[in-house]
């Protein structure tokens, strides 16, 4: 986003448009941990000086801080990528029961096609599971409009609202008209034990409320313009949502559409009414058969994509085959693969790990790219923090193998600390490498507690990783620059041959750190 933000129109991504919409809706607090394709939401919000915006330690913490702010009376937002929501699922599930005071929206960006993710889970199921309403914009313009609706719905129905985008919405740019910020009056924060203390007796009462709320939200889903019928050719009717709608309109401009923007609760009456008006009904959506299964449960006959298209993203040129119900033809990608930058300090660390022929429990960050040939020196990538815990787990069944774990500095703070405490407490041994490039590099270089700077690059309390690792119970904690190869190799050889739990902080800053 350029400095042109004062002009009335701007070319904004879905992430940026959503941030502007939230700002105009009177947002006060926003919390997130960086994650592609959601990162730019907080980066954009951080440019508004009157907002309270933070990179949190992880998504669970971010969710709780933002929800707490909403319960204290100010409109708040939490943003994450799909896998980030897994980390925040614990507070999310019970926040469905507590509800809110001022508006609260959880923005989740899914990544069909896994442009930069470890799986392509479909977050829409979470709406059923948590009994929370879900909005699904299909363009940046809708992202800006829907976030405002989300705050209204949140306050009217006393509920967190999930707003789900996908990569092709979050990272599409569109011309957007900017508006004025309007801050709603702040409701007073008061103690409310039956609502906010989820002990069994209170939670039972709130569960009754949740089920009643779902019924009311279903009525809203029937009425809202976000779920709209576009009457066209009566021979073909598409029920669709998100970017799939855009691809369909490109290929079948004259067909009839039920375009869903509020995908949960389902608008059954509208779906049934639409089905009656068209000769052949199609349900076309990306990833899982979320809409399809529900439409079929209403007793409607419809054609949907072949299950092979559950895998990967839809693209405009695939649409005719999807609509015809054909099987997906797998085409081998010839895309150039990303690799570690030539100057990257991780090269040196992994050269040593490869030379010593370790089994390397990996984690999530730039260094995951060390799995690629010819290096091939990283042997797992599951989730944030598992580089630390897999070191412990692998040793259970393979005590004869040479096993180490690696984790990035930001990833260690996000989810590695508890694993290290667990290893110390349960007498696990081995070497954990904290690959400290002093930034959150993979998502573009965001600050984290170990950099000592906030999201706005203001100095703050700096987390000293070596002190923390000592306090967690590591027997040895060394800090070393991996580019000092001889010294680094000697230290690694020494530590791996000890019967101890050691942490080697392999520290060399990323060249791409923003100045």
């Amino acid at each position: 986003m350029s400095k042109n933000s004062l002009s009335k129109k701007a070319l904004l991504s879905g992430d940026e448009a959503l941030a502007f919409g939230a700002y105009e809706a009177g947002l006060k607090v926003a919390c997130a941990y960086p994650g592609t394709p959601s990162t730019e939401i907080l980066e954009t919000l951080a440019t508004f000086p009157d907002l309270d915006v933070q990179w949190s330690v992880n998504e669970k913490v971010a969710y709780e801080v933002a929800l707490g702010a909403a319960i204290s009376g100010v409109r708040s937002l939490f943003a994450c990528k799909h896998v980030g929501l897994n980390v925040a699922l614990d507070p999310l599930m019970t926040s469905s029961y507590t509800g809110i005071l001022a508006g609260f929206v959880a923005v989740v960006c899914d990544d069909p096609g896994m442009h930069s993710s470890q799986n392509e889970e479909d977050t829409r199921w979470i709406s059923i599971f948590s009994k929370l309403p879900m909005l699904e914009p299909a363009s940046p313009r809708e992202a800006k409009e829907f976030i405002k609706q989300a705050f209204e719905i949140s306050e009217k129905f006393d509920t967190p609202v999930i707003l789900r985008m996908t990569t092709r919405v979050a990272h599409t740019k569109e011309d957007i008209i900017l508006g004025q910020r309007v801050v709603p009056p702040q409701p007073p924060f008061e103690r409310n034990i039956p609502k906010y203390v989820m002990v069994p007796g209170n939670a039972y009462g709130r569960h009754i409320f949740v089920e009643e709320r779902l019924k009311k939200l279903k009525s809203l889903s029937e009425k809202t313009k976000m779920n709209r019928i576009e009457a066209g050719d009566k021979k073909i009717g598409f029920i669709t949502s998100g970017v799939s709608y855009q691809y369909l309109k490109e290929n079948y401009p004259d067909a009839s559409y039920l375009k869903l923007g509020m995908t949960y609760p389902f608008c059954d009456d509208k779906i049934l009414a639409f089905a009656k008006t068209v000769k052949k009904l199609y349900v076309i959506e990306e990833l899982d058969p979320f809409l399809e299964e529900h439409v079929k449960s209403l007793g409607l006959k419809c054609q949907a994509k072949d299950p092979s298209f559950k895998i990967g993203e839809l693209l405009p040129e695939l649409i005719p085959a999807v609509v015809k119900g054909e099987i997906k033809k797998e085409i081998k990608s010839v895309k150039r693969k990303p690799r570690l930058c030539p100057e990257c300090p991780h090269w040196a660390t992994f050269a040593t790990l490869k030379k010593l022929d370790f089994y390397v429990a990996g984690d999530i960050g730039c260094y995951t790219l060390a799995c690629l040939p010819p290096t091939s020196a990283l042997h797992s990538c599951l989730c944030m923090g598992a580089g630390v815990t897999f070191n412990e787990g692998w040793r259970k069944g393979a005590p004869d193998k040479k096993i180490v774990g690696v984790v990035g500095d930001s990833t260690f703070v996000h989810s590695g600390i508890t694993g290290l405490i667990n290893a110390a407490y349960n007498k696990a041994k081995g070497v954990i490498f904290i690959l400290d490039n002093s930034t959150t590099a993979m998502t573009g270089g965001q600050q984290n507690p170990a950099t000592g700077l906030t999201i706005r690059n203001e100095p703050t309390k700096k987390l000293i990783l070596e002190d923390l690792c000592k306090a967690c119970g590591a027997d040895n904690v060394d800090v070393i620059d991996p580019k000092n190869r001889a010294e680094f190799d000697a230290l690694v050889e020494k530590r791996v041959n000890e019967n101890a739990l050691s942490v080697i902080i392999s520290r060399h800053p990323c060249k791409l750190i923003r100045q």
Binding site: S2, N4, K9, L11, T36, P37, H115, S116, S139, T167, R168, H171, T172, K173, E174, D175, V243, Y245, Q246, Y247, K249, E250, L315, P316, E317, V334, K335, R336, K337, P338, R339, L340, C341, C366, L369, M442, T443, G444, L512
Partner: protein, 161 residues
Amino acid sequence: MENKIYNITFGGTGGQGILKAAEICGWAAMYAGFHIKKSEVHGMAQRGGSVESHVRFGKQVFSPIVQQGWADVLVCFHPEEHERLKTFLKPDGKDLIEYLDKAQKAIENPRHLNVFLVGVLSAFLPIKPDFWQQAIEATFKKKYVDENKGVFLKGREMGQS
């Protein structure tokens, strides 16, 4: 406004300024009064992987991605990426790969390649020069605006000749 949708596909590798080139084109189309959608995928772009971006503008645009075989103009910054992306071009589309060598020779600073090629591209699109200038002002820091306007004009001359 006519109903035609203009489709432009940009491609290259991380660090070549592909996203910036598409960004300039997007702002120019916006200033010209078109509805515009631009798609890009980043996250790993800094790691030298393939980068592509699509710009579509017209009266009303739906898909943010250019469909295979629909691109009016293909702008590639790298011969290998051109091999991969040439199927996006429609049969009578304009392929700017013919300008890549000439462009590289015409610029003094390799970092100018993207803006130079945007200049070439501008010669084939129905967007007036003023809007391109405004787009450069919107997408560059002030101290780089004049330099890039100059590079753009040289590229535009090459595209028009």
